[in-house]
Symmetry: C2
Subunit: 436 residues, 2 copies
């Protein structure tokens, strides 16, 4: 295996730019047409389309879409005590961190008698999607269900594709129910997104869909989000990625394992190391080769590493500047002064401080959310949090004193914009106030 | 003028649904193609395209795109003292309310030795769009610039179309500069959005564009937001709307003036009154006819009122339920018990409490933001606030004690998902911890 290794300052500008290019997203005109067709079918035929599409895409004929109590119980019974405890601990930690994100209401008197407020309320109904393509992902069930439950969205629905036996992975079911989501449907792909966005006889209509997925799921989320009658989406999707900044003091085995963790997510995962020490890069390369032999997904890892890069930089300061430009989903600071360097970090989804904090912890159980902006979107989007399951409503209330204060300001500004009725709405009230 | 008046309980289900239908958005394939062409030109030819498109669409040949210090000074000098003071007071009030929205950093120890944090940071560069089609909108300049300045986004750019003399309205310039935005360009339409999303020699590239606009601006925002190399947008757009809930005690003149205020925004504005008292509706109708005679935009108002509705309901409780389903941008509660009723309100952009709080106050100067979700988007989007000019980054740091606590949980979950490298990244570290 050839691992791409570079010295940043030796590269021409164009080469530098090419290195930080994300893997191109495939032209998806075919996918878009197929997804539009699926959405049309689900809207026209409802549940009947869901059964038919599941038979077609998941090769299984279902008796019912929804997961029964008996299936939840069987799922729990099938899991080891270790697995159940690990899931419950992860849910606890994620809950602890996400409960701290609840925004208090705001009430401000901007002028005497002019009160402005901001109230946050849960979204009425949310739809969570948990993929099971490469492997079932109970961690995704936790990361979506915990904030939805803390936000207290009245309707919380989760969809995940059934296996060939018509079952959802038991760890996903156990995680969802214990995280507060017990309305679960055996439904995958674009049909799941369409069903949640528009509703059917069995599936409640939601106002926002959340969660990762393959190209069909991603396209379906984008299509329903562009329809005012559809559902909003959490954030645009892209392949997962990690950027590691390491100095000479870093343990090369740890760095190698962190790069490999990201690479095993999928062949399109992007993995970048920025390091100011040539010897450490040598040692990381050697360790990657050693560890690769231990991994069951070695082919995926090789595919991912082929378009990744180990880059020698002139200084850690330069590495941080490059990272801020790249805007990684995950950023690991394997540096002796990682905590101090944090102040210089911008444009990253989630940051892992020091050599004892591998990305795996954030993926599963430190408490942070693993649904994060990738593909450069860390420049303009935040990772998932309780706030994305809520929305703010502002409120204002003015008493006579307040109207005397703020009313004339509104009249002047309305006149400036030539909006007579805006002015009149204030003038009528002010005139009555002054009439004994 | 015929004003559409209904009794809700007399209507068939389909009629009820039709009444709450938003005005259809015109099929915009032509607009989409024109906007795509504009974006292509701006990306290919940069500033040259901007000068050419401005000559074409705004019929003015500019010497420079950016507003000079001399132009800012001339703008200030041209405004009356009243106008300047009103703008400064509005900026103060908006600032007071928006400063209260700044989120404090979060730091939680989810397990002993496992620290999770959430840090908010301003977006690197933001682009603000202030339309001037029907009338110049200094209020939009304030509503966009104040939160951008409070968020402290390092690069803040504002675009607004030039008039036939190549000038931007003086009130817009005065408002922008005093609200903290002094990089202003004479640029309107899709070309302004394209220039900010991709950057040119003169216009800095931004990561997110904000603000209202016509169908071309809206389409341009949507197109650049769907390109990962473009810029995110604040929220989807739609025609403005108000829903008023009034009881028998409401002053019919005030109700009429509030409905007319919304109607004068544009012919596609939607205006709905829900009231449980037939006599009040009679009085409101009479007052609308009287006030209409005083308005300079009477034609716009008539067009808007034609697809609006005055609806008699059985009870205020029913009105609130209908409002929650409609999800209005602006909701006026002209009720004796408005404050108590607020607890039942969901799905509204901004709420105006009691008979002394007309929508005009929120449009200009109470302190709340007037950039709000319309077209039913109040179900799943929030109005503009400081948080949309920031994004959150999460951080985690684990010490040896923390890794002993949380590491085995991650190992178990990684094994459940079949991700060997994820497990190895933890196991290697745990093993070293136990080696003396």
């Amino acid at each position: 295996m050839k691992l791409p290794r570079y010295q940043w300052s030796d590269l021409a500008r164009a080469q530098q730019r090419a290195l930080f290019q994300r893997p191109a997203v495939a032209d998806n005109a075919t996918i878009a047409a197929s997804v539009a067709d699926t959405i049309r079918k689900v809207r026209a035929e409802g549940d009947a389309a869901l059964y038919a599409l599941t038979a077609q895409f998941d090769q299984v004929s279902l008796d019912a879409l929804s997961v029964s109590d008996a299936e939840f119980s069987a799922a729990e019974a099938s899991l080891s005590k270790d697995a159940r405890e690990a899931i419950l601990t992860a849910i606890d930690n994620i809950g602890t961190f996400h409960r701290a994100q609840q925004a208090a209401p705001i009430r401000v008197e901007t002028m005497p008698g002019v009160v402005c407020e901001r109230i946050s309320q849960p979204l009425d109904a949310v739809g969570l999607y948990v993929p099971a393509g490469l492997a079932p992902l109970p961690s995704a069930a936790m990361m979506l269900s915990v904030p939805a439950a803390i936000a207290a969205c009245p309707i919380r629905v989760l969809c995940s594709p059934p296996d060939s036996q018509g079952q959802i992975d038991p760890a996903i079911l156990f995680a969802a129910r214990n995280a507060g989501v017990s309305t679960v449907f055996k439904l995958g792909g674009a049909q799941a997104i369409a069903a949640m966005a528009y509703g059917t006889a069995s599936i409640p209509k939601v106002v926002k869909v959340f969660g990762p997925g393959n190209a069909y799921v991603t396209e379906a989320k984008s299509q329903v989000a562009s329809d005012p009658m559809g559902a909003a989406q959490d954030m645009p999707a892209g392949p997962s990625e990690v950027l590691v900044i390491a100095d000479a003091a870093a343990n090369p085995q740890y760095v190698a394992s962190d790069l490999l963790s990201q690479a095993e997510h999928g062949p399109d995962s992007q993995v970048i190391l920025l390091c100011d020490d040539a010897q450490l890069i040598d040692a990381v390369l050697a360790s990657i080769r050693d560890q690769l032999a231990l991994l069951s997904r070695a082919d995926t890892v090789r595919a991912s590493l082929a378009h990744s890069a180990l880059i020698q930089v002139d200084s850690i300061g330069q590495a941080i500047q490059l990272s801020n430009e790249y805007a990684p989903e995950h950023l690991i600071l394997n540096l002796v002064d990682a905590r101090e360097r944090l102040h210089d970090i911008r444009n990253a989804g989630s940051v892992f401080i020091g050599q004892l904090t591998p990305e795996s912890l954030g993926d599963y159980c430190s408490g942070t959310n693993h649904v994060l902006p990738t593909y450069g979107y860390a420049r303009n989007y935040s990772g998932l949090g309780v706030d994305q399951f809520m929305r703010y409503m502002t409120v204002q209330e003015v008493n006579p004193e307040g109207l005397r204060q703020v009313g004339p300001v509104a009249e002047t500004l309305a006149a400036l914009e030539g909006l007579d009725a805006h002015k009149l709405a204030v003038s009528l009230r002010l005139a009555d106030l002054e009439t004994p």
